[in-house]
Amino acid sequence: MLTAQLLYALTGCLIMALGLRTALLHASLLRRVVAINVMGTGVFMILLAIAYRGPELAPDPVPHALVLTGIVVAVSATALALALARRLNAEHADE
């Protein structure tokens, strides 16, 4: 068993749980968006740890491809969430 692989994977789990907790509990919309991004980071770390196979071997390219597209999709989802939040704030400012 590779220590580095385990270290990164377990850290990924921790970060994911931290992000999930804040996403569920915090009142601020912006903070929730940040929290979901942090959570995604944890998932990416787990996937890349699974792909890692030591310093000598080439890592598994399939999780790399998944994470790569995941990063781009995450940022566009973030933008959509922020646009929704902005609209929500504008509607509330009306009243």
């Binding site: 990164y8 970060i15 601020s28 740890a49 890592p59 598994d60 790569l68 990063i71 781009v72 566009s76």
Partner: protein
């Protein structure tokens, strides 16, 4: 790198990552949270490089260091100000009732349990023999994929369906953003120092993105990294106070946005007509087809990310997007009729 110093490096890097993530989530105000999140993005690029995932590190560098920080700061800028330093909403919420305190505990316990179970499963997987059938399948077929970078081969050839759908997801997200109304007001024109920087940065970023697209066939790089870098050029120009940042007029912009999905689909369907499987490239053409699809995908991704940063439709004729929701509703009713945006400042 010898194993001991590598391990020390890992531990220190992960400690800083967890520390920053925690501080960002728990910080009392949103602004600090965003700044800490930006610092986190920088460290992540390092971590991905360390895990021998340079393709991912490239995308993280362009998005984590450029786009997402700028996006969150822009959103922060126009948040309704609640000037009460120290009084965080989470604290206010916690104080309201016993029930909510209990909810907090339950959620925390559930999250900890989830992390525990996931960690336990991962430990079991890692303890067993390595599962590398997929890796072997990729390296066995790399010869017929048309490219020699395995990540590009997976993205554009072996799992082309996934990438096609991902581009469709991006398109859907940006359509959602556009449907919500006009974008954020731009930035004030930059002073001479930053303007000079932006003038040299934008062409350099465009050059680097072309380089990444080209090199993606045999080395880390490709459409996603190139698109993110190209979008970063747009973000820099926007921050320097350019309104339309050289984006084409509305109609052409829509064409660019859909080019990635459209070309991908066209290639897939014409292969189908020729009696091959959907997206099953003939090995002789694979390299060329991948480059064509990637070029279109790069442009679509860049346009999508820039529009996502702007946060809505471009202002026509440089009128700053007025904030009252009434204008926004009008804008939505007229959104069906494509309008030509004023070419206030194009290019750099």
């Amino acid at each position: 790198m010898n194993p001991v110093s590598l391990q020390l490096f890992d531990v220190l890097l992960l400690l800083s990552i967890v520390g920053l993530a925690w501080a960002s989530l728990a910080s009392p105000d949103d602004r600090r949270s965003v700044i800490l999140f930006m610092a986190l993005g920088l460290l992540l690029a390092l971590a991905w490089g360390r895990l021998l995932a340079p393709d991912v590190a490239l995308a993280e560098a362009a998005i984590g260091a450029g786009l997402s920080g700028a996006l969150l700061l822009a959103a922060l800028r126009e948040q309704p100000r609640r000037e009460a330093p120290g009084a965080t909403e989470a604290v206010a919420k916690r104080g309201s009732s016993r029930l909510q305190a209990m909810t907090q505990w339950v959620v925390t316990l559930l999250c900890a349990g989830l992390a525990g179970i996931l960690g336990w499963v991962l430990m079991h997987i890692f303890a067993g023999p390595p599962l590398d059938r997929l890796t072997q399948a990729v390296s066995a077929n790399l010869g017929v994929s048309g490219v020699s970078n395995p990540v590009t081969a997976v993205l554009l050839n072996f799992r082309g369906y996934d990438t096609l759908l991902e581009l469709a997801v991006l398109l859907t997200a940006v359509l959602g953003i556009l449907a919500l109304g006009p974008g954020r007001a731009g930035y004030q024109p930059a002073g001479p120092i930053f303007d000079a920087l932006a003038r040299s940065l934008a062409p350099l970023l465009i050059l680097v993105s072309a380089y990444l697209l080209w090199v993606g066939a045999h080395a880390p790089g490709g459409a996603f990294q190139a698109g993110a870098t190209l979008a970063a050029a747009g973000v820099v120009l926007r921050l320097a106070g350019r309104q339309r940042i050289g984006l084409p007029p509305e109609g052409a912009l829509r064409l660019v946005m859909t080019a990635g999905v459209g070309l991908f689909l066209a290639v897939g369907l014409s292969l189908l007509l020729m009696g091959r499987p959907f997206l099953g490239y003939p090995p002789a053409w694979a390299g060329a087809l991948i480059l064509v699809i990637e070029s279109a995908a790069m442009l679509s991704i860049a346009a999508t990310l820039v529009l996502a940063f702007i946060g809505g439709r471009l202002p026509a004729h440089g009128i700053p997007a007025a904030e009252p929701a009434t204008t926004r509703r009008e804008a939505i009713t007229t959104a069906a009729a494509p309008e030509r945006g004023g070419e206030e400042e194009s290019g750099c």
